[in-house]
């Protein structure tokens, strides 16, 4: 856990930062090399891989003119909206439920079967059914993301509770704490590092589900933009869409990590 969070441990030295940047620059250079026409034509035809410069131009053009009559901001906004609503709903419901399952054997016995049975199922397979149920509007897309994140968040919250050190609970009991105080001030904070880990996993998975959901029966969204551009062989737009999704996932993870470092600064350390 602490090895993941390099900045907190000061593990990311300036040396490895230089190597990181160098590796990134090398990839970019490779992209430039295979797309620059040194003789007749570039090594890879623009239809398959346009040059970084032309992708940048397309990005600027999309910023200015939008795509299919909708601005780039609209496409991005609708994607963020779907992800945000689904993500918030999952966290707000699944985490407390998981905590409850961790605290109470009966609740765990009731909720374990549906969660465990549904967990390994690929949720995208349910999308056609959800479209029959909810139509092609926003509901089906939000529901599919929630279905994917729910079991992960609830199970990991439950595991986090069960992993709280017995001695910490005993110490709180011996200090005279009530059950409510033990939950609020010992079990819940002690579970937070584990919960944060799964929240970060869910950001990656949530963006993946978003892309899947936006590729079927939609008329807006970044993944929709890329999907429909592919029908017209607009490779530049496809790449812009993919890069925006990558940047979105990365930025969201960065936010979650910053939050994690602030709130659970003790994570992975013993005292």
């Amino acid at each position: 856990m602490s090895s993941l969070a390099t900045p907190r441990d000061g593990g990311r030295t300036s040396r490895s930062l230089v190597i990181n940047l160098g590796s990134f620059a090398a990839l970019l250079l490779l992209w430039v090399l295979v797309t620059t026409p040194f003789g007749e034509r570039p090594l890879v035809a623009p239809l398959f891989l346009p040059s970084p410069g032309s992708v940048w131009d397309t990005f600027l053009m999309l910023l200015k003119n939008g795509y299919q009559g909708k601005t780039l901001g609209y496409h991005l906004g609708i994607s963020l909206f779907r992800f945000g609503i689904a993500f918030l709903m999952s966290v707000v419901v699944a985490v407390p439920l998981g905590l409850w399952m961790g605290m109470n054997e009966t609740v765990k016995a009731v909720l374990d079967p549906p969660i465990e049975i549904s967990r390994p199922m690929p949720k995208l397979a349910l999308l056609p059914l959800l479209i029959i149920w909810f139509g092609i509007g926003e509901v089906a897309k939000v529901v599919i993301i929630v279905l994917a994140l729910f079991p992960i968040l609830s199970i990991s919250a439950m595991q986090a509770v069960r992993g709280v050190g017995r001695r910490k609970v005993q110490a709180a009991l011996a200090l005279g704490a009530s059950r409510a105080m033990i939950f609020r001030r010992v079990i819940f904070p002690a579970s937070l590092p584990g919960i944060f880990t799964s929240v970060r996993v869910c950001i990656g998975l949530g963006v993946t589900m978003l892309v899947g959901a936006e590729m079927i029966a939609t008329s807006a969204g970044i993944a929709y933009m890329a999907m429909s551009a592919s029908d017209f062989l607009l490779t530049n737009v496809v790449i812009v869409g993919a890069l925006i999704m990558a940047a979105l996932g990365y930025l969201l993870d960065l936010c979650a990590r910053a939050l994690e470092n602030r709130i659970v600064h003790w994570g992975g350390k013993e005292g």
């Binding site: 050190g165 110490a171 709180a172 011996a174 005279g176 002690a190 937070l192 659970v264």
Partner: protein
Amino acid sequence: MQGDIPAASGAAPAVKARFDKVTKRFGTGDNAVQALEPISLDIAENAFVCLVGPSGCGKSTLLNILAGFEKPTTGQALMDGTPVRGPDPRRGVVFQQGALFTWMSVRDNVAFGPLATGKPSAEAARIADRYLEMVGLTAFAKRYPYELSGGMQQRVGIARALANDPEILLMDEPFAALDAQTRELLQEEIKRIWQSTRKTVLWITHSIEEALFLATDIVVMSARPGRIKARLAPQFALSEDPAVVASVEFVRMKAEIFGLLREESLAAQRQEAGR
């Protein structure tokens, strides 16, 4: 001690805690392990009782029973004549390690007990600061446990247990994970705290010297199933001189306990091998 009739000098001191024919058996059927044979033991008020014994002899089980974390199979633990039913803030517990609240500052850790027992937060913070001063950690009140050394963490644990002003302190090998120098310094500090507060203490240790240095009563336990093998009453707990450890009497008692423990450790080893 606050009876109607003042205790006459020479009278037996009041019993703070008592183990009354306590036994403990873990598991059932053929896999059952008898951890404790019937144990009866009185812990006098203001006494500093050290339990020593080979690993697995049931010392910690005994402490957990008095703390209220575990129930005896038969018999009972009593405090002030009342059977122990569960954990109680009148009995403070200090563990070897891993029991501090890592997400709270040092001050919040120590203030936890006063808050839990209903003190307003300003008063709880004042109490915390008082005990942090007692263990010399005033400057670290706002730090987090993971920022402290192992020895300082144990001092936080001790201050946290003391902050509830418990009537008895139960300490389960509190210094076992520390290096020798830190250990010796903390032993002197514990002695100073005990001499000034005269709390009743039940202390578990593997270290004969630690027991001799601190205890008014040493209880030597046998290999599993745990029984009381011997009781000794060293006189070094009241001494303020760290050099008592070099006195003839200290060394003689050390050799005596060493002999007692060695038999039991060998027995414990045979048990392990025979399994």
